[in-house]
Amino acid sequence: MNGLVLGSILALAGIGLSLVYGILKLANFAHGDFVTLGAFLAFLFAVVLGGSLEAFGLTVGGGLIALLVVDMFWLHRLVWGERLLLVALGAPLAVVAAVLSLSGRGGSGTTDLMLVEAALLSVVASIGVALAFERLVWRPIRRKKGTVLTLVIVSIGVSLVLRNAIQIAFGTGNRSFERPTTVSPNVLGVQISTAQQAAFVATALIIVGAHLFLARTRTGKAMRAMADNLELARISGVDVDREVTHVWVLAAGLTAVTGVFLTLVANNVMNINMGVGLILPLFAAVILGGIGSPYGAVAGGFLVGIATKTASLWIGSRYEVAAALAVLIAMLLVRPQGLFGGRAA
């Protein structure tokens, strides 16, 4: 069961990493730090600023207005289909809110509603950060035709910047959503916390949402086309820069959600290393599923998650990372294009 939970977390973050890797040829070592960022931003909104719901409503409203302004002046021509993307990310969270509020109701601390709102805000803010990096760093480097090496090294720089900025803002110690601990209910004889259930359900919903988005909307189709063949997509009239922006929106939004859930399943505790520790299993999941294939990333995420937790029964949880590494190396040596016919890029 732990494997499924880890798997759903890997799947969530893996979709974005896979798309970014496939489309931008960018092995993004900063992806884990975006997960951390998502968690800490949610902490900021929920615990630091979340004094009252009224103030909260105001920040939500302000965030949405800010987003619309960014829409108009920065992203240009954002059509409704794309705004739907943001809603698609938010809607499952609302469902989770319902699930959470039906199950364990807390007395003091962060309430479920606040948490969901904070998560939403965190999604918006993470997207803002990701777009800032896209605009200031990645796009200029793409224009200069940077090689794979450039991209990897710059992503390390981005990772350093994000990680240390988070440390300056929030410190190095553990932070918590300050939620009351609840007794985990039994499901089929296994103790599963509400957070785990929520993570699982939300992942399923988000994956379905992502599937619908990728399969049905124009933007989603363009993304998949770009992941398959960037030049061909460009010739077919895909506005690459704009679609890349959407990829970042999707990736950053999902990492923020991942960060919140990762915190919830870890007894509400977050720290600076939570996202970095995910990097290796994430890459293992993405490569297992085939780079550039979001469906592959989901499957790979669950496979790696289950493999890791199963392996930890034998080799102990201290060396969990070994399982992911073994999967990764085996895949790279045997079948680098991934299980599901992705591309060795």
């Binding site: 090496l149 991209l151 720089g157 240390n164 900025a165 590494l325």
Partner: protein
């Protein structure tokens, strides 16, 4: 007019003296001529500027001149050690194009190899060496072979430089003689094998074990490195380094866990403190100067010089040209009959040796080994130093280390002043933030760094 003989001779002699004088004056300037010279100039100016700034920083409110000197010596030691790390990375990445994000694993493994030997065998083994003549002979033989092995390449270079036209036979004899002499000197350094010397010997064995382990790891890394694309390799090496680090932390019986390995026997500081002549020399320079610090700096600088000369010679040799050809296009090099995998493996192993030595120096600096020292952060800092200094140019790593690993941390320390304003915990993260920004900006606006070579750039133009 016909001058008398002696006068003519005197005139000729004077002329020769004058030209000698002129060339002596011009020699230092000549170093800075041409392309290499300009690169040296940039490096020297950078290092001097960094240390001048540090002297001003450390001199402000210092108690004595000696304290400032000690501070600067410590910084110079840092620079030498991290330049050595960078030199290894430069060979692996700058010249061979191997994207190694697990660099620190070599340093950590070497230090831990040494530390584990000392922790588990240390004092007891030293005692039995002291007591047992047969063991003594074996240990001295081992020392002699090590010294001979390490001196051979340099001896070869020296002979080639001084007597390029001599017969091969002469060169061989000269190199062997030099190696034997080096072995003999090394053995003399360890005689008589009293308590301290036999402990030195155990530490030396530990270092050999450590370097051997690092080289073994390089062979392991080579399995993916010779098959995989750059970005895959980056992921794999990063993961392997993480795994090793969790090994240091968790195998408490072997590595001491997070408490680390303390109280290593330290040959450098022990000798510096027990050697009267060295003490006297250091005292003569400045009574407040620390003999140990200066000795460590000397050792580190010599090792840096050793590896620099070695790697520079390698890079200029036909071997280096093949390596660069492979970096540019391994298919072409392969089609020309070069064994691509073998060259990559050799670069990986040689680079890992420099990194291993750096790791050992880091441990000897404080005579302790902690898992936190050999963390991903140090790999990343070395990468920043490499990129800032300039990829594909061995000189660059010194300048990069001076900026990123000397100046930046010291400047960041001054951020502590902000703590009175209520901003906590800013020193370390501030440094990391600055390093990250520096990396991004250099990659965007000056990808060849300070002295990197544009035409050898791996980042596209």
């Amino acid at each position: 007019m016909k001058l008398p003989g002696p006068a003519l001779k005197a005139l000729a002699g004077g002329k020769a003296l004058a030209s000698l004088g002129i060339s002596l004056v011009r020699l230092p300037l000549k170093v800075f001529e041409g392309r290499e010279g300009r690169e040296w100039r940039t490096v020297v100016i950078t290092v001097v500027a960094v240390f001048a700034a540090m002297a001003a920083l450390g001199g402000y409110g210092a108690v004595s001149a000696g304290a400032v000197y000690n501070f600067l010596i410590g910084l110079a030691l840092t620079m030498c050690i991290f330049s050595l790390l960078g030199l290894g990375l430069q060979l692996q990445f700058g010249h061979a194009g191997i994207l190694n994000l697990g660099l620190i694993a070599f340093a950590g493994l070497a230090a831990y190899g040494m530390g584990i030997v000392w922790r588990h065998a240390g004092v007891g083994l030293a005692a039995s060496i002291q007591a047992n003549a047969g063991l003594q002979a074996a240990v001295l033989g081992c020392i002699a072979i090590t010294a001979a092995a390490f001196s051979t390449p340099i001896a070869g270079l020296l002979v080639q430089r001084l007597r390029p036209r001599a017969s091969t036979r002469f060169k061989r004899v000269a190199v062997v003689a030099a190696a034997v002499a080096a072995g003999a000197i090394a053995v003399l350094l360890f005689l008589p094998l009293d308590q301290n010397r036999s402990r030195d010997a155990v530490m030396l064995l530990g270092m050999l074990v450590g370097i051997g382990a690092a080289v073994g790891l390089a062979f392991l890394f080579a399995i993916p490195a010779i098959r995989l694309r750059e970005d895959y390799l980056a992921i794999v090496t990063l993961g392997a380094a993480e795994l090793l680090e969790s090994f240091y932390r968790n195998e408490i019986w072997l590595t001491g866990g997070t408490e680390g390995i303390l109280n290593l026997h330290n040959p450098i500081s022990e000798r510096a403190l027990s050697n009267g002549a060295w003490q006297g020399f250091v005292d003569a320079l400045d009574p407040n100067l620390k003999a140990v610090g200066l000795a460590q700096l000397l050792v580190a600088a010599l090792l840096l010089f050793y590896f620099y000369v070695l790697f520079e010679a390698l890079i200029r040799s036909p071997w280096g040209r093949v390596l660069r050809a492979i970096r540019e296009d391994d298919a072409v090099a392969g089609a020309l009959g070069k064994n691509v995998n073998r060259f990559r493996l050799q670069a990986l192993v040689l680079g890992s040796m420099a990194v291993a030595v750096a790791g050992i120096l880091i441990a000897l600096r404080t005579s302790t080994i902690f898992p936190g020292t050999y963390e991903r952060a140090l790999t990343f800092s070395t990468w920043v130093a490499l990129v800032v200094g300039g990829v594909s140019n061995n000189k660059g790593v010194v300048a990069g280390a001076a900026i990123v690993l000397v100046a930046l941390p010291e400047l960041a320390r001054n951020l502590r002043a902000l703590e009175s304003l209520g901003i906590q915990n800013i020193v370390g993260p501030g440094q990391g933030l600055a390093a990250g920004l520096m990396l991004i900006l250099v990659m965007m606006y000056r990808p060849h760094g300070l002295v990197g070579r544009k035409e050898e750039l791996l980042f596209g133009r």
